[in-house]
């Protein structure tokens, strides 16, 4: 039986994590795979830490990823990468947006985050998704930049990603989002 692929996406409420995991799930479903995707709504969304688990393969049981079994950990924010780093499989890939969002209740961003990531995930692919989103034309397109970045590490065709993005994002923003995806795909490949 084909192994289940696990993609763990983390970030801060409001960064568009759920849309990104929605698009990934659409792509996997279009390949005829069994797909499960899990996140929690409600209080967890109000500026708090948000995670989405996406699993796909021939047959998926649990909708959540086991610790140390994420093939891919994608974080839209640096602290949130470190918070969930224990989900990454020993041979797993880490893709991180270099953005810093100060948590509520703290007046400044903690200083030891880069060091923590360097120690726990020395091969992490780090990109400045906010700058690329601005380059694409909208700061809120961080999520599609990140989709582009981590799409490098999954075996789906670029065309299928683009189709899924077009189907999900508001029509007026398709162009910006496709540009953001393309920029992310180049930046995340390194």
């Amino acid at each position: 039986m084909q192994r289940t692929t696990n993609v763990f996406i983390s970030g801060v409420g409001g960064q568009g994590i759920l849309l990104a995991s929605e698009i990934l799930s659409d792509v996997a479903l279009a390949y005829g795979l069994d797909v499960k995707k899990s996140e929690v709504h409600g209080m967890a969304q109000r500026g708090g830490s948000v995670v989405s688990h996406v699993r796909f393969g021939e047959k998926v049981y649990s909708p959540v990823i086991a610790e140390r079994e994420a093939d891919l950990l994608v974080s839209f924010e640096k602290m949130e990468a470190l918070r969930w780093i224990h989900y990454v499989a020993p041979e797993g890939t880490v893709v991180v947006n270099d953005q810093e969002i100060v948590p509520s209740g703290m007046e400044r961003y903690p200083e030891d985050i880069d060091e923590g990531i360097a120690k726990r995930a020395p091969n992490a692919h780090i990109l400045d998704a906010l700058a690329l989103a601005n380059e694409a034309g909208n700061a809120r397109a961080v999520n599609t930049v990140m989709l582009g970045a981590f799409s490098n590490y999954l075996e789906f065709a670029e065309e299928d990603w683009k189709k899924a993005i077009e189907a999900r994002v508001p029509p007026k923003t398709v162009e910006v989002n496709l540009k953001a995806f393309a920029l992310g795909r180049v930046a995340g490949a390194k």
Binding site: V35, P63, M79, L82
Partner: protein
């Protein structure tokens, strides 16, 4: 067609496909999206938000009396509110099919307790259906209605947060209409005077035995053959975790777990030396096995009772693997959004040294630092009774130091009776309704105070001021929540008033008025003295730079619709960019 549906979407789809005609609810995480999706089928299903779960339940029960397939949905603690009609409804009926959906919240992602509502099925003596993914959710909605109609009983349909919110693949079908049954008056069945109720109780006990027999062979309870030396019993989402933790085991998977299929379980357990019971929260299955004298089982002595499970936790419970090494990272708790109208109330209470009994909603986040604005939060509506109780215990003067803070939707849910109590029993309590004109925490649902129905029709709008005055609360007024000075004056005057007061702090939920957001405010760093007053608002858009001066994140600030930081700044160094 195969699509990804959340468990909540699958309930809605199941209602559509299986001929449901009436659906009611009060929103509550994790169950909210059920009705939000049922409304997509509003040409075929009448649906409504009720003011609370008890009313939702009673409307649904009436619709079932009227002979149509009916569903009522709520979160686990909502069933406590509806427990009165629940406990007696189970002896009446046999009309249109009646399914009660409970969304339990293991791990308390957005709840005040972790109660396991499977016990309500046992308590109320009604069948319990437990699906384990969205396809089963949709299919079992149909099965639940068949059981309800065949045995003349309500059915409890139990979901948990992971099931409600996880999206899994579902094959869609067409709608099958189910004809309304003709209503016939029968007081022996629906008027529960003691003489009738005594007979009905006997009937319920007999009915349970019948359903129990049915459950022994129902396809909802199935054995999945695997390794003949490892046996596992599980139900609901815990089954999925157990399948990953024990990929090769033989499973008894329960979908109709009450009345418990004891002979099926007995036969299953006899095949193994030890049988592993994997269930989230309480030992509901395990207790029934042990009560029947089946003792070769291992359950809660290994599997944690508190919190949500996962395949990792299940595996570790039975010796598989170790705790992972987590990085130490500062917490990132949820917080009142930028532009939230509730912020001014808690900021002001904090500055005035006044405490608050509070309630269930976004504003519960007022407990977090730096607002630190809340003393108590227990359940829906408790704030007002709690405040009156403090006053009766400590003395009337204490009402100056402790106000009740409750949201608009929660006030309509179960605050109105509390306010009547304050007036009736001559409390000096100040009640503050933080009115953002929506049920916000659960994702913006309408209620009797918003003037709009679930089906999108304009309707009457509850007038809190007129209501309070009719109850005898003479000092009742509206306050602009974004006017910091007005909020402060109103709270001072209301708490000084030796009689009851009602303040309605009006300001729309920031997320509902995105179109009115303007450019982010800016800080004049020349003028900023780094005093930190604006940081006391606890706005996620504001932090400090290297010199300790305020910085406003342009991605988060909502601009002139809020402006609280500009008002509290003692040196007036914060303003809209074009006014800087």
């Amino acid at each position: 067609m195969r699509v990804l549906l959340s468990g909540n979407e699958a309930v809605a789809r199941g209602c559509y496909e299986h001929g449901v005609k009436v659906a009611t609810a009060y929103p509550g995480t994790p169950s909210t999206e059920i009705l939000e999706n049922v409304v997509r089928y509003k040409d075929d299903i009448y649906c409504q938000w009720s003011p609370n779960e008890k009313v939702a339940f009673e409307v649904a029960m009436g619709a079932a009396f009227g002979g149509v397939r009916t569903i009522v949905a709520m979160k686990h603690v909502g069933l406590n509110v509806a427990a009165d009609p629940l406990m007696t409804s189970t002896s009446v009926g046999g009309d249109g099919g009646f399914v009660i959906v409970t969304g339990d919240d293991p791990g308390m992602h957005s709840s005040q307790n972790e109660q396991d509502n499977r016990y309500y099925a046992k308590f109320a003596k009604i069948p319990l259906v437990e699906p384990s993914d969205s396809q089963e959710v949709k299919d079992y909605v149909g099965a639940a209605f068949e059981i309800s109609e065949r045995f003349g009983t309500p059915v409890l349909f139990r979901l948990t947060t992971r099931l409600c919110h996880a999206k899994t693949a579902v094959e869609l079908g067409e709608r099958t209409e189910v004809e309304r049954k003709e209503y016939k008056k029968d007081t022996t069945l629906r008027v529960v005077i003691p003489a009738h109720a005594r007979r009905l109780h006997v009937k319920v006990e007999g009915r349970l035995k019948e359903i129990s027999k049915f459950g022994e062979t129902s396809p909802l309870n199935r054995v999945e053959e695997g390794d003949p030396t490892v046996g596992v019993i599980s139900s609901g989402i815990a089954y999925q975790y157990a399948r990953d933790a024990f990929p090769d085991a033989t499973f008894l998977k329960l979908g109709l777990s009450f009345p418990f299929p004891i002979e099926l379980a007995r036969k299953f357990c006899a095949r193994f030396e030890t049988v592993y019971i994997v269930e989230e929260n309480e030992p509901f299955i395990e207790e029934q096995l042990r009560y029947a004298g089946i003792t070769n089982v291992v359950g809660k002595e290994k599997v944690p009772l508190c919190g949500e499970l996962s395949q990792s936790i299940v595996a570790r419970s039975f010796g598989g693997g170790e705790e992972p090494d987590k990085a130490a990272v500062a917490p990132r708790p949820p917080v009142l959004c930028p532009g939230c109208p509730h912020r001014s109330t808690f900021f002001t209470l904090n500055r005035l040294g006044i405490g608050a009994t509070s309630d269930i909603g976004c504003y519960t986040l007022g407990v977090m630092p730096p607002l630190n604005g809340i003393d108590t939060t227990i359940c829906m509506g408790a704030s007002i009774g709690n405040a009156l109780g403090f006053e009766k215990a400590i003395g009337q003067d204490f009402a100056k130091k402790m106000v009740a803070v409750i949201g608009d939707s929660t006030f309509v849910h179960s605050g109105m009776t509390g306010l009547a109590d304050v007036a009736y029993n001559k409390g000096a309590t100040t009640v503050i309704i933080v009115d953002n004109s929506i049920t916000a925490m659960t994702g913006h649902q309408n209620h009797p105070g918003t003037g709009m129905t679930l089906m999108g029709e304009p309707t009457t709008k509850l007038d809190y001021i007129a209501l309070a005055k009719s109850m005898g609360v003479k000092d009742a007024r509206r306050v602009d929540a974004f006017d910091m000075e007005a909020v402060k004056t109103a709270i001072k005057e209301a708490t000084d008033n030796p009689e009851a007061s009602l303040l309605v702090m009006e300001g729309p939920c920031a997320l509902m008025v995105r179109k009115t957001w303007t450019k982010a405010f800016v800080v004049d760093t020349e003028k900023c003295t780094a005093c930190g007053m604006c940081l006391k608002l606890g706005c996620p858009a504001i932090s400090r730079d290297e010199d300790g001066k305020a910085v406003i994140d342009p991605l988060f600030c909502v601009g002139e619709v809020c402006g609280m930081c500009a008002q509290v700044c003692p040196v007036k160094c914060i303003s809209a960019p074009d006014k800087a």
